[in-house]
Amino acid sequence: MGYHEKQQLWWNFSMAELGSLFRKEQSTYRYKIHPEWHHSISIHWRHKICDWCYEFIDHYNFDREVVGVAIYYFDRYISSQTSCEGVHTKDKFQIIAVTSLFLAIKLHSMSENSLVESRSQALARLLYDHVDPQEIYEMEMNILVLLDWRLNPPTLHQFAINFSQLHPLGDCCSTTTSYLYEATRYQVELAIFSPELLATFTSSVIAYAALKNAEEKITVDNPHILTPDMNQSFEALMTDPTMTMTLDSTAVARCQLSLKRLCPQLPGLDEFSDTDTDDRDIQPDYYVQEDTPDPASISPLNVAYY
């Protein structure tokens, strides 16, 4: 299959998938996080849980999208438990977090053959390195029932990859296309750490705002890459009637600002090479600590150690 044919195939897939993601976001997975939910869990604790999830996922080389899914399960579970006594303990958070990740790995690490073995190892580690496995089995059932067995939310990563795929920069050059996606993905991975952001904006708005920020950064670094025509054609595509919904531009602008507060400085285009796609090249600052051993050399054993 030639390059252009492949590009066209990706484009068609992305259009169809984006339509499907919008529909899911507006129907089955349309929900409001309980307004009081953030009082039930310390922001500090949630941050640690996200941190641990990323480290665990990186260790086993799973797709980082799994963390977004796990945190979605976690937030929804916690959000529904605000009136329940007993959930506000460190132990309880740990079981919910471990089980959410356990469930997310089971459902979202299936597509690649090479990860089948890692999956068993990762699941065993989650089961036996934390608490009594029975507690995880029970919590798994609680989460399944509470989420009404709806386990495939439209994720930030799915929106990010499909928005990037449809962007006219795709026809420009591979470095800028990869940069656009990686910079968008970087921001949405950070967004997962911020419960306020997730509670205020939909996944599509967050991913789109992240993409607009990446666009801005490309323009600052090199004003000649992104032409007004490209910008217009992409905006037109996003408001296409077949897209089933249009993105609220005010919400996108507000979300862009929130993301910039979360991530004041995106890596520059000149620092980026699309030949090196190692995730650790584009990790949040708090991953890079001089005295910390290489994350790939140790196993993130227990969320309670954090």
Partner: protein, 305 residues
Amino acid sequence: MPKADRWSSDEEEIVLLSLLPKPISHLDEGTYGVVWKARDNATQEIVAIKQIKFDSDMTKEGFPISALREIGVLLSLSHESIVSVREMVVGSTPDKVFMVMDCFEMDLQAAMKKGPGASTPFAQSEVKYMMRQILSAMAHVTSIARKYEHPARNMTQMVVTLWYRAPELLFSESCYGPEIDTWSIGCIFGELLIKEAILKGTGELDQIQKIFKLLGTPTDDEYWEQLWSKQGSTFKWKNNDSDLARTFAVNSFSATGQSYLSPDGFDLLSRLLSLNPKKRITAEDALRHSYFSCGVTEQVPMFYV
């Protein structure tokens, strides 16, 4: 949470959530669990209840992954020709989990082999009715389900039952989409016409040979040349011409036991069974094919009435 006494059999109460040792009506045992037939006491409707199987191997990883994925896909679909999961029910212990689904008396294979009129071919109008159902269900799946991963990722080729597996999958194509399913529908179309699977390979190589024997070897086909050259294949396949027209007689009331097939029907069959996946007709386009708009009117199959 639904209550235990909500479902009963025709004869006596079936206390599903505490599971009577003796099944009241045992429909089938699938890969993932036993299926029971029961009556919903709230609506008086007959439903199928599938108990998720918890083997000891499976429970090592908690709730069975295969069942989770099946539930996820079925819950996301809503189409009159696709069995729907009405609700999930959890029993007194975590290993008692049930899917409450619409109940059907038989599947298509049983209808072909055992249903009323099993000894004679389906009428053309019946085949047309079933094909429309299958294609419209597939068009819905394609539009809703995120079954098709992003083509940038390498995907496994171990999908689809061998007899219905598209030729490109047999040649390890890892970049595929909904066209692998329209191939399967083409196989089913042929099967509906002769009431027997049309490509019964005994292994992957035999399956390829049977496909090329029926449809001819793809010569001078850009897609196949590229796929084989990408794989560095030097293997030469025996050149066959397509045998499809001889296998499926058009406009013929022959005594071979085949359903009547119009020229439009044959055209649709050959488009569904296109060896080149890029030229294979999509489910949506198939529904717009003249096979459905011309000729005899569709009719509900006898086994269904």
